[in-house]
């Protein structure tokens, strides 16, 4: 397999942009109509994801250390969509037809061989990883909603009980699918450390015009059924670190950080934790009552709410970045940040400009499962 030839071939094809995945999926659905129902009605987001994944695979083709874990993750993750080993050759055939179609006269027998070889390896890593996962985990976890609190106009807190134990590390998230929006999965972070009864909390914020969050927050009732994918994500509390902890949460970005606080409470010697919980207005600090209760119970925990757009608010005003910069000494601290991309970027920039080393800052990163 000539890796350079493969990369050149891909960049030629990828220049056609959205046309490429559009052709691929139409080709796949025509040759195997039975797989259509594994996908949502609107395919726009799906096409972006396919092109991104292919781009990542091709650009990492020479560095196996990066590629193999990524492919293994993809393989495991595809189990929840109902992907079986027998689907892989069908996908390979449509992929090759698509590449050939867009390559035009530049498609040669050598290229066909290169791509076939590459896809065979990709499919092998993915299917083997999926098969290994079958021994320990179901393709997805069924779960029942057992509690539901609508905290603000936008934020609902769900408590769900998975049918069987779902082991995870605080800071991780799972893809969630609800009956009202089949085949559309969205990631939500577990908002609590694992409990003895196995229940999990999710903080769901309605995104205006979002196709899933609205359904999650409004159409779900106690008793509704959900499907949860395997836990993913790299954000986790570094319990071996000698430093104390700053947590910066923007709105429902609080969820994984709250789980990490609960985890710290279980440690024999918890670090000092200072949580700055930010929102636009005081009414949007949807979980403050609970957090303050935790702070009273655990002397090592400090909670500072930050309100950015409410001139009448009497507490700390400003963004999470403002309040951390103003209130929290940064020396000898690790920082964990989670929230909107804008909030995370702004806060990370502020911490770095105040001299915090990059490797003491952890941010929520969905990695390959970004959506």
């Amino acid at each position: 397999m000539d890796e350079r030839r493969l990369k050149e071939s891909f960049s030629r094809v990828a220049a056609y942009g959205d046309e490429v995945p559009l052709f691929f999926y139409s080709h796949l659905f025509l040759s195997h109509p039975e797989v259509r129902e594994m996908f949502p009605v609107s395919m726009a987001g799906q096409r972006d994801r396919l092109l991104n994944a292919l781009g990542r695979i091709v650009s990492d083709v020479s560095s196996h250390d990066a590629l193999v874990p990524y492919l293994k993750g993809l393989g495991r993750d595809h189990r929840k969509f109902g992907a079986m080993a027998e689907h892989y050759p069908a996908v390979g055939a449509s992929l090759l037809a698509t590449l050939a179609h867009f390559s035009g006269p530049t498609w040669t027998e050598e290229l066909a061989r290169d791509w076939t070889e590459a896809y065979t390896i990709i499919a092998q890593v993915m299917t083997e990883s999926a098969a290994a996962d079958e021994n320990t985990n179901p393709p997805w976890w069924g779960a029942t909603v057992v509690g539901l609190e609508r905290r603000t106009l936008d934020v609902t807190v769900l408590r769900v009980a998975p049918d069987m134990p779902l082991p995870y590390i605080p800071g991780q998230s799972v893809a969630v699918e609800c009956e009202a929006r089949p085949r559309v999965w969205r990631f939500y972070s577990m908002a609590n450390a694992p409990r003895a009864d196995g229940t999990i909390d999710f903080h769901v914020r309605i995104v205006d015009g979002g196709s899933v969050s609205g359904a999650m927050a409004r159409h779900i009732a106690v008793g509704s059924r959900l499907r949860l994918g395997p836990p993913v994500g790299t954000l986790r509390l570094d319990t071996a670190s000698p430093r104390d902890v700053i947590l910066g949460a923007g709105s429902t970005g609080l969820a994984p950080l709250k789980a990490m606080i609960e985890q710290a409470a279980g440690l024999p010697n918890p670090p000092r934790v200072h949580l700055v919980f930010g929102a636009r207005s005081a009414t949007e600090l949807y979980d403050l009552a609970d957090l303050e209760k935790m702070a009273t119970q655990w002397p090592w925990l400090t909670v500072t709410p930050a309100v950015s757009a409410d001139p009448e608010y009497r507490g700390e005003s400003g963004t999470v970045a403002d309040v951390i910069g103003r209130r929290v000494p940064l020396a000898g601290q690790d920082a964990y940040l989670c929230g909107s991309s804008a909030m995370v970027a702004a806060t990370m920039g502020r911490l770095q400009s105040l001299g915090m080393p990059q490797d003491h800052i952890y941010v929520e990163d969905y990695g390959w499962s970004e959506s």
Partner: protein
């Protein structure tokens, strides 16, 4: 310059096109000649574009055949016909657009609702403090106007009480009146908003459904008519 039907239009011919001067008494070139030439150029261009499309289709067809002929490369590119792939792609894009439109519409409505929610809250806060201030002012005035009596101490006490009663009564009256007026205006504006939203939704639905409904009813009439004729 005349149109030479038997000859091909070439870039060279366009560049070297020459027109006679207009007849005596008119300025410029001979209009009829220029017009004829432009028609020729336009016809030739249309023919070339058509030919181009046909050639492209031919290229796709040949490329497909070439790929099918190959096939020794492990995975067979099973070819769903390229035309069918394009048709399905078009359908998918249409579906995607409808979903995106619906999402945009719902986002606009939700953003509007948020804005109104914020506006109403802000206005309510301002109103509430105005109502309180005004009630306080009127009540103070009412308390001051309680007539002084000549009676000694116990009466002074009584007077003080009366003043306080007058204050409280006026305070609550003013608050009640203002609040009622405010609540009325609030529910009126919510009703208006709901009506506007329903109108918009109905209009959107009708504009989408009408053509197909009309077609349906037309077909229905035809069936009824033919039935009657029997």
């Amino acid at each position: 310059m005349t149109r030479a039907n038997s000859q091909q239009l070439t870039p060279e011919r366009v560049r070297s096109a020459a027109f006679s001067p207009a007849r005596l008494g008119r300025r410029g070139l001979d209009e009829a000649q220029v017009h004829t030439f432009c028609e020729w150029v336009s016809d030739e261009l249309a023919r070339t574009l058509n030919e181009n499309t046909m050639l492209q289709e031919e290229v796709l067809r040949l490329r497909d055949r070439l790929l099918k002929g190959r096939g020794n490369s492990g995975i067979q590119p099973e070819d769903g016909h390229v035309q069918a792939v394009y048709v399905l792609s078009k359908a998918q894009q249409t579906a995607d657009r409808y979903v995106a439109d619906a999402q945009n519409y719902s986002r606009e409505i939700a953003e509007d609702a948020h804005k109104r929610h914020d506006d109403i809250l802000r206005e309510a806060k301002v109103r509430a403090s105005m109502i309180l201030e005004e009630a306080h002012a009127s009540a103070s005035r009412a308390a001051r106007t309680v007539p002084e009596t000549q009676e000694p101490l116990p009466a002074a006490e009584r007077q003080e009480l009366e003043a306080e009663i007058a204050y409280l009564r006026t305070f609550s009256d003013v608050c009640r009146t203002h609040l009622r007026a405010y609540m009325d205006s609030l529910s009126r504006s919510i009703a208006e908003w709901e009506r506007a939203e329903q109108d918009a939704a109905t209009a959107a639905r009708e504009s989408r459904l009408q053509p197909s409904q009309q077609a349906l009813s037309r077909r229905f009439h035809v069936v009824v008519d033919s039935g009657r004729r029997k």
